[in-house]
Symmetry: C2
Subunit: 117 residues, 2 copies
């Protein structure tokens, strides 16, 4: 079972992976096969659906990068963490907060994202 | 369907309701019959289980009161909100952050709480 900190690091890496094969590999390592993702703007289900969703988001913000805002906070089978999205010019676009259920194998099963105002 | 702001207000009221009948009524209004609650220290399932869980928490912190730290943030069928817990002497004990799924009837179905460090 993967450590939750590693999974969250790889989750951020998946959002940042521009290379399609690398991104797909990270998505498969991070998300359970039946995982769901839901935030105010994006929605995806399963490895392929979430990979396509991330690819579409990358297309909307070319050169943008996600960074964890701090260490993840986990208890039982849940985890939360905050992140910043920086544009290609280095300016912060938005800060968000994700909450996820963790499957038995350590991968994320249901991710819900919120955007800070 | 109840407005999510009303449901979250009543959720906080349920945690503050010392009168057993009032608390049970609020819990039934706020939580779906099959609702679950999970935070680092407490766990409860269903109307009766969650009511008993809240009663036990009240017994551990006599005179303590919860207050919302700000308006709830909702999208799709999910909501998040922060709260402060004040002791009977008015000093802040802890700040927490709850996530919940919202059932079709507006009640909370799965609540996950985290405590800020």
């Amino acid at each position: 079972m993967a450590d939750v900190t590693t999974v969250v690091d790889e989750y951020i890496a998946a959002w940042n992976a521009i290379d399609a094969a690398e991104r797909r590999d990270l998505v498969a390592r991070v998300f359970a096969e039946d995982a769901t993702y839901l935030d105010p703007m994006l929605e995806g289900t399963g490895t392929d659906g979430i990979d396509a969703m991330i690819a579409a988001a990358q297309g909307q913000f070319p050169g943008a990068r996600f960074e964890l805002a701090g260490p993840p906070d986990a208890h039982h089978d849940v985890v939360r963490f905050s992140w910043h999205l920086y544009g290609s010019d280095g300016a912060k676009i938005v800060t968000g907060h994700d909450y996820a259920q963790v499957a038995d194998d350590g991968r994320l099963r249901a991710v819900t994202g919120f955007l800070d105002q």
